[in-house]
Point group: C2
Chain length 295, copies 2
C-alpha cells in the first residue's frame, strides 16, 4: 500500500526559485495530495501551469490557502505583512503556516499578528538557493543535503513542527531548530554580510573607467568572477533581507569595516607578517568547511 502523503493540501504563496523547487520536490516525493499555487504575476502563473508543478493556480492568495493543511510563504520579505493580512482570515483551523524567508524575527513581526489562534505558525528557512530566479529556475533537488532551519515560537505544537520537519527531510534536508533572534545573527554572519560584500565589490569594480571595463570581464577569472555569481542573486529578495535584518547586518558590517581598515594600514606600511598571519588563518578555515562536508 502506498504511503499516505504528509499533507492533504499544500498552498504555496510565491512560485519563484524556492517555491517552485519545493513544489517539484513535494511532487517527486508524493508529499502532498494537492499543491495549490499563488503568484502575483500572470506570467508566473501561466509558467507554473505550463511546467506542471502545481495542481491548481490562483490569482488570489486567499483563495489559494482555502482548505490547505500547510501554507508556505515563498515571496520576498517585504510582501509578508500584506500577505498575512490577505490570507490570515482564510487559514483553516489546525493548519500550519510556514515560510522560507532569510530573516526570521521580521517574519514573526509581519506574519505573526495575522495568524489565528488555531493555526500553527512555524517559520522556516531552507539554506539553499542559486543565483537564478523565477519558476523556470527551480528544481526538485535544490534542498538535497542542505540545512533547513525552523524557528518555532515557544509553546509551538510539537506535532505540527515535527510534520513540517519531516516534509523538509523528505525533500532531502537536514533540520536545525533555533530561536529566531539567533537565526538572524548567524545568518547575518554566514549569508547576509557575504552577499552584501559581493554586491559592493561588483559595484566598485564595474564602476571603474569605461576603458578598463572590457578587460575586467576578460580577466574576471582571476578572482572577480566568483563574486559576480553571488551578486547575481535576486535583487528584490536581497533588498528585503538587508532592510529586515538591519541591526545584525550593520553590526557585522561594522566589524568588517574595522578589519578592512586594519588590512589597508598593513598594506600601506608594508606589514607583511600581519598579512601572512591573516592569510594563514583564513586558509585553515577552509579545511574546517571541507571537513564539515559543506564545501
Amino acid at each position: 500500500m502506498a504511503e499516505a502523503p504528509l499533507y492533504e493540501r499544500v498552498a504555496l504563496i510565491g512560485l519563484g526559485l524556492i517555491g517552485s523547487s519545493l513544489a517539484r520536490a513535494m511532487r517527486q516525493g508524493k508529499l502532498a495530495r494537492h499543491i495549490a499555487g499563488h503568484a502575483r504575476s500572470e506570467r508566473t502563473r501561466n509558467k507554473a501551469l505550463e511546467l506542471g508543478f502545481v495542481d491548481s493556480i490562483h490569482a488570489d492568495a486567499a483563495a489559494a490557502v482555502d482548505g490547505a493543511d500547510l501554507v508556505v510563504v515563498c515571496t520576498p520579505l517585504g510582501t509578508y505583512a500584506a500577505i498575512g493580512a490577505a490570507i490570515g482570515p482564510r487559514l483553516k483551523p489546525g493548519a500550519t503556516l510556514t515560510d522560507v524567508g532569510s530573516v526570521k524575527q521580521a517574519v514573526i513581526r509581519d506574519l505573526g499578528p495575522h495568524v489565528p489562534d488555531q493555526v500553527h505558525f512555524v517559520p522556516g528557512h531552507p539554506i539553499a538557493g542559486t543565483e537564478h530566479s523565477g519558476p523556470e529556475a527551480g528544481f526538485a533537488e535544490l534542498f538535497q543535503g542542505r540545512w533547513c532551519i525552523l524557528t518555532p515560537p515557544a509553546g509551538a505544537d510539537a506535532a505540527a513542527v515535527e510534520r513540517l520537519a519531516e516534509l523538509w527531510r523528505r525533500c532531502g534536508s537536514m533540520i536545525e531548530i533555533m530561536e529566531a533572534a539567533h537565526h538572524d545573527q548567524v545568518l547575518a554572519i554566514t549569508s547576509h554580510l557575504p552577499h552584501l560584500i559581493a554586491y559592493c565589490i561588483v559595484g566598485t569594480v564595474t564602476g571603474v573607467e569605461e576603458a578598463t571595463q572590457k578587460e575586467v570581464v576578460k580577466f574576471s577569472a582571476s578572482g572577480f568572477r566568483d563574486f559576480t555569481r553571488i551578486a547575481a542573486s535576486d535583487p528584490t529578495m536581497w533588498r528585503d533581507v538587508f532592510l529586515n535584518n538591519r541591526e545584525a547586518v550593520l553590526e557585522m558590517l561594522g566589524r568588517f569595516s574595522e578589519d578592512l581598515a586594519a588590512l589597508q594600514r598593513n598594506i600601506r606600511w608594508g606589514e607583511g607578517d600581519k598579512l601572512q598571519e591573516l592569510f594563514t588563518r583564513t586558509r585553515a578555515i577552509r579545511r574546517g568547511i571541507i571537513e564539515a562536508k559543506q564545501a
Copy 2:
C-alpha cells in the same frame, strides 16, 4: 617526423602549483627537450623527482639555469631580487627570462637589473590557479582556455616574445600583450582587490564569538563558503602581491571602502530603492561574464 621542441632546455625556478603545472604541460606537449627544476626546499625537490615532471633537479638556482634557453621564475614575488642576483650572471646569451608573477612592474624592478644585455626579458602572468599549493597540486590542464598576459618592455626581441607566446598557446592559453603598469592596474581590480576582500571577510567572520563558530561552518553554504575558497590561496604568494602592487591595491581599496560606507548608510536609513538599483546593476554584470565565456 616529430616536431622539434620549442626550447631545448627550460629551467623552472620554483616548483609549486604554477611551476609544476607548467612542467607537466610542457612535458605533455613535448615543448622542451630537457626540463631542469629548482626548488629551495628538499621536500619539494624530492617530490618533483618522485612525480617525475622534471628531467633534472637542482638545489642551486644558478646551476639550474646553466645552458637553459628559457628560464621561468615561478616563486613568490618577494624572492625575485635574490633570485635575479643568483641566476643573472649564469644566464646564457640569447636565452629568454620570464616569470609567472601576479604583479609586473615589481618584476621589472627586481629582476630587471640582473638581466644581462644579451638575454631577452619578457615578464609573463598566466591568469590561472587554484586554492591549492605545492608540486602535488599542479596539473597539465591548468592553463587550458585561460589568458596569459605578457608584458615585454619596449624594444623587446619580437622573435623571443613570439616563441614564448607560442609556448603558452601550446599549453592551451590565449595571449594578451600589455604594458606592465596597465597590467598591474587591471589585475588590482579583477584579482587583487577580490582576494583582499575575501581574506578580510573570512577573517571577520571567523573572529566572531566562539559559541557561534560551529554554526558559521555548519551554515557556510549560504554565502560565506564561496569566499573561503578564494581565501585559502597561498599566503606567501598573496602577501607578496599586496606588498608589491601597493599603490594600485590601495587605490581600489579606497573606492571599495567609499562604496561600502554608502551601502551601510542605505541600509541604516532604509533606502531600499538604492539597494535594489545596485543589486540590479550587479546582476547584469554576471550576464556579461557569461557571454564572454569566462563564467
